[in-house]
């Protein structure tokens, strides 16, 4: 299926309430919140790894306010209210993940904590997706260069990422499609992510490697702070995407699931 056709499909159902509720819009909103939280994690790296910094902005409502500020910058509007169980669940999951990492974040003896956007988003997707709610979200990588096997794309994600990779950069802003699985309608959304300058400190070339900071060139290493070999990506290369799978019937039945 051509990328343009996938985008067309998205247009076909985003406008109307094909399911009584605008699930494609909701999916996109959830992805945008997910990505904003990931961005905050990136901005807060110095604070996270510091031994002395005030870290109160990394927890609870303060952390949500930080996400709100990034969301406003990215989308020109306030962070969405938690007016749907999916959004409520996502906000709870974000706060829970930060709490799960409290010991690590507060540990004054670790110079490098390793709480980076990749590990944060993996934990967040696990927490969110394993919560018994019929919505799954995850970061998916490219099959030929996976750091974490759990980020392996499924058939649909692989097809979309392949099309996006083959298209002109910037063409694949968002892909949404309704698919059928075991007789159930799924709203699938994939938002591609491209490498920015910040990402290259771990995913770029040896010149970008942040582990080489303050080290003379003859002692430079190919291994990044995470312990992986620098994969030589360039600015604007496709990194993967954030994928969301929403089971329409499951969400509609959500009220019976004894949630919250």
């Amino acid at each position: 299926m051509q990328l343009s056709r996938l985008l067309l499909l998205a247009l076909l159902f985003t406008s109307g309430g094909a399911f009584g509720e605008d699930y494609p819009a909701l999916s996109l909103e959830v992805i945008n919140i997910f990505m904003a939280s990931k961005e905050v994690l990136f901005e807060k790296q110095e604070e996270i790894n510091s031994a002395e910094a005030d870290k109160s902005s990394l927890f609870g409502q303060s952390f949500l306010r930080e996400i709100d500020s990034v969301y406003r910058k990215n989308h020109g509007q306030a962070l969405p209210k938690s007016d749907h169980p999916i959004k409520t669940l996502l906000y709870q999951s974000i706060l829970s993940v930060m709490e799960d990492n409290r010991a690590l974040i507060m540990d004054p003896d670790l110079a490098y904590k390793g709480l980076i956007p990749a590990t944060f988003s993996f934990q967040l997707s696990q927490r969110f997706s394993n919560s018994g709610y019929p919505v799954k979200i995850k970061f998916v990588g490219l099959r030929n260069n996976l750091v974490n096997e759990a980020n392996n794309p499924d058939a649909w994600e692989y097809e979309v990422l392949s099309k996006v990779a083959a298209s002109v950069s910037g063409d694949g802003i968002l892909v949404q499609q309704v698919t059928e699985e075991k007789g159930r309608s799924l709203v699938r959304t994939l938002k591609p992510i491209y490498f920015s300058l910040d990402c290259l400190s771990c995913h770029g070339t040896v010149n970008d490697n942040s582990a080489n900071k303050f080290i003379s060139k003859e002692h430079w290493t190919l291994i990044n702070k995470a312990g992986f070999k620098m994969p030589n990506y360039q600015l604007g290369d496709l990194a993967g995407g954030v994928s969301l799978k929403l089971d329409v019937l499951g969400v509609q039945e959500g009220g019976n699931l004894e949630l919250q």
Partner: protein, 258 residues
Amino acid sequence: MNFNKPSLKFRHSAAYLLSYCCLILFSLQVFGAVGDTGRSTITIGTYGYQPHIKVSAGPLQGRGINYLRKLLESAGYKPVFQVVPRKRLAQYLANGKVDMAFPIYEKELRESKRMSVRPLLFETPGLCFRKENFIPFLSVIERWKKLDIIYAGGTEIIPFLAKNNTSLKPVFGTNIQDRLIKMLASERADAAYVANVFPMYNVNSRFYRSIACSNFYGHSSAVYIAMSDQLDLSVIRSLRQSYKKLPHYAEFELETFK
């Protein structure tokens, strides 16, 4: 009325039968309701599950206890906590020896009912290190595949670890957590595998100053509050209603940190 007509006889009998059934159903409902309202306590089976359930000489403590107490009291019941050996808790629940149980894992649920499809919390296994040897990313297998790793004997090892490290050594005895940490501190081992990182590595843990732990993300287990299937349906419903109104445990945990 001519009762000799067979059709009328049938109607008459049917009306009697219907009235009788209604009376029985009504009585059942009344007595059932009396039974429910008459119940004032709910027995919760549990065991020492740090830091959520702390078993010591006095009454049970911990935020798991506070949460369960709040849940039951808001539903109009008085909680009675019963400490049960860990391996028997699921059996106690299945036999109706306790009305509720916490913590219960997915595989232990059997016929019992979850308070919600949503797990109360997750357990994540991991490796604990001396701080100077901390490995932040366990997905970098090369960093730990040759390390000497100890673990409490009887603990289930995740296949990912077992497959990639051949120097796993079980440790037995009492105060096993302390032994593991002492062995780490004295450099008799490079790392300690734990089935759940959180009790070992949290800001209130007595080990917090000496060790740091990394998680095997993607290998978490869901932990539930479960109810006995022998519990009256109306009690189950009222407990679930109260559970829905409570802040989720994650938020409740946050509250306790404030």
